[in-house]
Symmetry: C2
Subunit: 363 residues, 2 copies
């Protein structure tokens, strides 16, 4: 029985999400290198193996070490090298095929001094997200970095890696298509520019909105989506998924009911949901969308019923009079989180609709 | 050596914060019942014992169980009873002095059926935070609830508990004083109303802004502040603390530098900081304030240098040209978090300025 805030996982939906993405990679004849930062679970990682996946993406050295211990032997750390963790990087490089990201000559000079085994190196390109990477038009710098990689022992230049995270600002397929075309164009341009000198270079991209909604990935060599494995309210708003593809929901106990304010107080706060928010078409700030509580799973979204505020352990649900009429203290309310990655990050397990526990590693 | 995002703790500042609050309670001749949700650490809890504290506040049944195992014998769960956890509540009630919160007749009827040992019961009053509790003017309902407690075995009516969390919207002492006066007035009014029938009832209040800045608490019987133990950027903005009283900072590795944009990319994202934000006097959204990196600790705030964006593992620091000139990949940047409670919640330890590790329990 659920007694406290619990992260529910619909295994069938999750496996279907994995299968669909694996098929898209096969159709495009590209490598599917899923990002494991979303689920961080050994058990869920096995469902990817069932679809033939043997190359993965993670976002930290620690996460790479965890999955390397679980027999994943080809791992990309999709985060600029943190040279302070060189000891662990060396351990990993000695035991698995490790792929790392660089974006300056300086970091390569540091690696040259400290790296003890061979690693593959991607140059990180800023294809629109404006977070990390070299600007694609800065081919002089890209040439310098590639040349520096070339002349450095233990570094193999592998290609260009980008993340079109700007697709998160899109609403609907048309806007996502525009981001996709622009980011692919930047990457392909670079490939053409460098392919003569580096005939084996590959292109790696990988945000969930473009990977879920677009079909043509024939111009790149691999993709690395992550949150598609669960989806969430944010992906639904962007247009990356249908409601039926969302595989996670929070289950939270009702602890008080304020009918005068149409508010329900739940045990479930920012330490269970994280503080991600979305703004709906009416300008309302929403911290989670309430769904019908059906059996061990959940039904449709309940319109106009949502988390309006979160504090550390409390959540305040704004309800309609019709909804509140049938809710009692001691009930469970189910809620689709805004951002599955940050919500999952706060839990050390998932509970399936068969009431089985799936462990999750907390870093 | 620090190699990844680490939560630093200045033990001296933390102990001074505890001492100051304990002294204020002594001067007012009231009970100091600190909220342990901020630190969630056995070792830090001992520093409270050194100041004579033997009654504490927590925000969940789990947290109560943790501290009960650490020999805390008088615990208030400052959260409306979650009846789904009645089994653990019964375990606790059998072994320690447990104080719980109710705000309806219904929950007492549920407790009447299921509670096996004696507990003290506070009626939760909404003194301005508009999150939980009965409106103070609704004396009819308060009477009903108190009467129901009275007639129920194992329930001892203890008094009224409020949390003026609306003080978080204050800026400066004058505004905090107004919230303090209003909330005290509401509580005292209730006490006068009920004292004849319940001569032993007590009043409990406890938000950090009023507890740190106000001096007169003689009209209440106990206070329960929490975040004062560390303080943070939010408390500094409210006016609850001086900069020198902030006892925690994050240390994050620099992984890339973008001089063209005056941005520094750090290893340190929403899974290390949480996503709390504050808006400064210029309307800028800030996810953390950069401070001088001095030895194992930190110096003053560096003006105009702050975290402008967080994703899962990445933080983007907006810097000045002068600051960025002296920063290199592999450096550590230190940052005062926005909200110490949610930041600490993401870590399983603190590192002191003597490089010692202090464990923290993650629920």
């Amino acid at each position: 029985m659920l007694t406290k805030p619990t992260l529910l996982l619909d295994v069938n939906k999750c496996k279907a999400n994995i299968k669909k993405m694996a098929e898209k990679a096969r159709l495009n004849n590209i490598v599917f290198r899923p990002h494991f930062k979303t689920h961080q679970s050994h058990e869920i990682s096995q469902w990817f193996r069932d679809e033939g996946v043997n190359k993965i993406t993670v976002s930290s050295v620690e996460m790479a070490s965890y999955f390397a211990q679980k027999d994943w032997e080809d791992i990309t750390i999709a985060f600029p090298v943190n040279i302070l963790e060189i000891e662990k990087i060396n351990e990993l490089a000695a035991s698995i095929r490790l792929n790392i990201l660089v974006e300056s000559v300086e970091i390569i000079e540091m690696l040259a001094k400290k790296l003890l085994s061979e690693v593959n190196v991607f140059i990180k390109i800023n294809i629109g997200n404006n977070r990390a990477g070299i600007e694609p038009q800065n081919t002089d710098l890209i040439f310098q970095v590639a040349a520096k990689i070339d002349e450095t022992q233990n570094l193999n230049f592998k290609g260009f890696l980008g993340h079109a995270g700007n697709s998160y600002a899109c609403r609907g397929k048309q806007e996502i298509a525009k981001v996709h075309q622009e980011s692919i164009k930047k990457m392909v341009h670079l490939k053409k520019f460098f392919i003569e000198q580096y005939p084996n270079l590959i292109l790696s991209i990988g945000d969930t909105p473009t990977c879920t909604t677009m079909n043509d990935f024939s111009m790149v060599d691999e993709f690395r989506p992550g949150v598609f494995v669960f989806h969430d309210s944010m992906q639904l708003q962007i247009g990356s998924c249908s409601f039926d593809e969302i595989a996670v929901a929070m289950a939270c106990p009702v602890v008080a009911i304020h009918k005068d304010k149409n508010e329900i107080l739940i045990y479930g706060g920012s330490v269970h949901f994280a503080s991600d928010r979305l703004i709906d078409q009416n300008g309302t700030i929403i911290f989670g969308k309430v769904v019908e509580n059906i059996g061990r799973g959940w039904g449709n979204i309940v319109e106009h019923v949502y988390i309006k505020k979160l504090s550390q352990e409390h959540g305040i649900i704004k309800a309609t009079p019709e909804f509140i009429e049938n809710v009692y203290v001691g009930d469970i309310i189910k809620i689709i989180p805004i951002h599955a990655c940050t919500t999952a990050n706060l839990h050390d397990s998932y509970v399936t609709l068969k009431n089985e526990k799936i462990d999750r590693f907390r870093f």
